[in-house]
């Protein structure tokens, strides 16, 4: 196996090259830009035979891949932050019309205040867009998940777009070792067949149509069934990937040292790596802590999460996101899932890492300590908040 040393952006571009999309349309935005550049290089050097479209905006990038996927062609785009928000209208077109587009999103803060660094407010604000949302921890997982994304999206019972989220800079710009997959096996893992709902020059099809009150609910019901079905497919795609390539990630969620854990911390994305180190140190010291890495935010792994945390004494959710006036989006979803599954465990929300601020091992240790002590009180806490600023009354 070829071993490389690449950034997260480069890993995504390499994975896209192996997935061989027919059409790529993407607009540059920090910190996603390198993906766009590398893919252009591959098209130039002939190692990737894709139609590469220069688009004038993210709105047009998403629209172009809607067009190509509507034609039945494998399609890829990438974005970040403001760009994702500029695409939002198209996100709903893509999911509602069941176009299995794969998109990489470099998680980045939203203006204002302007900030190019990482947090997850961009993608988590789009949980309702009908896209399958995957989050990755490291460069290797970014690569592997990008390939898995096509397996999930193009599943005949799913046919939904997939967003692969990488933390901006922390993952997109950090270099790590990458084990490449061999092309032949990837071709077998994600063979291409023209989409069954595609337009057809010999037998015309109308798509992205209007459905009034008489049929709209039925379209939505089918969309809900397909998205729920995707939960199984996220798991099976990861399992099959593991059988072929020797790496898998637990599918929807990974439970790390959770079996007898008294407290469990839920993490999303690259901070999981930091949290693993702290978790290991605490276990060494005999403290029963575990991690639940949320890999898939839509569909939401309701039963899986409930089964993992049901015997814990406290659960924390650490997220780089806040829904102002309430709490983090993942925290809300987790609470709802536990209620639905009749699991009654105290839960606490830790909001941090906004606008690129690092979440340190010490920050995570403090969270574990609070959860272990049984003295965690506030349902929501901004961690690592500066105390040297006068915030007024």
């Amino acid at each position: 196996m070829e071993k490389l040393f690449v950034s997260g952006d480069e890993a995504v571009a390499l994975a896209v090259r192996q997935a061989k999309p027919h059409v790529i349309a993407a607009y540059p935005i920090t910190p996603q830009t390198i993906v766009v550049e590398r893919l252009a290089d591959y098209v130039e050097d002939g190692s990737l035979n894709s139609e590469y479209l220069y688009v004038e905006s993210e709105h047009s990038a998403m629209s172009a891949v809607i067009g190509s996927a509507a034609m039945g062609a494998r399609s890829f785009t990438a974005t970040s932050s403001q760009g994702l928000l500029y695409m939002v209208e198209g996100l709903h077109y893509a999911s509602g019309s069941r176009f299995p587009i794969v998109m990489m999103n470099a998680n980045r803060s939203l203006a204002a205040p302007w900030n190019i660094y990482g947090d997850q407010r961009d993608s988590l604000s789009q949980l309702e867009s009908g896209w399958i949302q995957l989050y990755v921890e490291n460069v290797q997982e970014a690569f592997d998940t990008t390939i898995q994304a096509y397996k999930i999206a193009e599943n005949a019972d799913v046919m939904l777009p997939v967003m692969v989220n990488l933390d901006g800079f922390v993952l997109t710009h950090t270099y790590e070792p990458l084990i490449m997959t061999d092309q032949e096996t990837v071709d077998k893992y994600i063979p291409f067949a023209r989409y069954s709902n595609a337009m057809n020059l010999d037998d015309p099809v109308n798509t992205c149509i209007t459905a009034g009150p008489t049929y709209n609910t039925e379209f939505r019901w089918q969309q809900q069934l397909a998205t729920l079905k995707a939960a199984e497919v996220v798991d099976s795609a990861d399992k099959e990937f593991g059988e072929l390539f020797g790496r898998s990630y637990g599918g929807m969620v990974e439970a790390y040292r959770c079996d007898d854990a008294e407290v469990i911390l839920v993490t999303i994305g690259s901070v999981t790596g930091t949290a693993r180190v702290v978790c290991d140190a605490y276990r060494e010291a005999g403290k029963k802590v575990g991690l639940l890495k949320l890999r898939c935010a839509r569909p939401f792994p309701t039963e899986k999460i409930a089964a993992i945390v049901k015997n814990a004494k406290a659960v924390g959710v650490l997220e780089r996101d806040i829904s102002f006036g309430f709490e983090g989006a993942v925290f809300s979803d987790l609470n709802s899932a536990l209620k639905q599954q009749n699991v009654n465990v105290p839960t606490y929300n830790y909001v941090g890492g906004l606008g690129g601020r690092s979440i340190s091992k010490e920050n995570i240790a403090e969270i574990f300590d609070a959860l272990l002590s049984g003295k965690a009180e506030k349902p929501l806490e901004f961690i690592n908040l500066r105390r040297d600023i006068n915030y007024g009354a």
Partner: protein
């Protein structure tokens, strides 16, 4: 062989829809699809035409069709084209049917981008001079003095006060291989231009006036006459931009009375003599300019 009523295919590809009687937009699409044929992919943004063409399960469009985001007709066309090309499709046409607002306002960015990409696609702007689908609001191609539901005519304001954007020239300024203006009131000229767009090896653009009896407050059987009269009175011109050159297809020695055209339409019923004088001056200035620059 020139396309005309005799040589045009009989097969209908857009019929059974619920457009208003005498709809210029529906006629423009019907004629365009007769020229482009069954192996067409129509991209129709949210406008009157997509509203009457795509309401499940009532599907009166007999070619491939897709509703793109309003702002992104041309970008979806680019994607469709790229997808079809990548999949090895041949002998097909990608055509967009956007209204005046969907072209000159919200759709302008992606139209510009698609010309920059040199995509072989036909963008047809059917211009009924307002946002008719939402109930007759002013667009960038609404002419001076038009009463619309958001540019009312009263004591203080006489309807819309800005001139039409020069969208044909804006498109031509991209250096597009082929652009034209047309009018459903001059169908043979329109068909000739559709044929040229069909055979064009790059992006093409046709700006066709498509009167709207509902929005213009004219009788539904007046569609062809009123379109023709717009040309004859000089408020619409028939022109082409090809190989980097502008060309006037019709250069009338004299115009029919502007007043006759204006007074037939409820949307202009409030205009006074000063307004008419202003419209005439603007018309004459436009013709002086295009005759100077476009007539060899």
């Amino acid at each position: 062989m020139a396309l005309n009523a005799k040589t045009l295919p009989n097969e209908e590809l857009f019929y059974g829809h619920k457009a208003c009687g005498g709809c210029g937009g529906a006629l423009a699409i019907r004629l365009a699809l007769k020229v482009l044929g069954k192996r067409s992919i129509a991209v129709i943004p949210p406008n009157c035409m997509s509203t009457v063409a795509f309401i499940y399960p009532h599907m009166p469009l007999f070619v491939n069709g897709i509703i793109p985001p309003f702002a992104a007709t041309a970008a979806v066309m680019s994607g469709v084209l790229a997808g079809a090309r990548a999949l090895g499709e041949e002998d097909f046409h990608v055509v967009g049917f956007a209204g005046d607002g969907g072209t000159s306002d919200i759709g302008l960015q992606s139209l510009s981008g698609s010309i920059d990409r040199n995509d072989k696609q036909i963008f047809l702007c059917y211009d009924n001079e307002a946002y008719m689908n939402t109930g007759i609001q002013k667009s960038g191609l609404t002419p001076y003095g038009t009463k619309t539901t958001n540019s009312p005519a009263g004591k203080n304001i006489h309807g819309s006060t800005s001139p039409k954007k020069r969208i044909f020239e804006i498109v031509a300024a991209h250096g597009i291989p082929y652009a034209a203006t047309a009018n459903v009131g001059y169908p043979e000229d329109f068909l000739m231009k559709l044929e040229k767009a069909k055979n064009c090896d790059g992006p093409s653009f046709i700006h066709v006036m498509a009167p709207c009896p509902t929005g213009w407050q004219t009788p539904s059987d007046s569609l062809i006459d009123i379109g023709k009269e717009a040309v004859d009175c000089g408020l619409w011109y028939l022109a082409e931009y090809e190989n980097g050159e502008f060309k006037l297809n019709k250069n009338p020695k004299e115009f029919t009375p502007l007043k006759d055209y204006i007074r037939k339409q409820g949307r202009f019923s409030h205009l006074d003599e000063n307004d008419l004088k202003h419209i005439e001056e603007e018309r004459d200035a436009t013709w002086a300019r295009i005759r100077r620059d476009w007539v060899k």
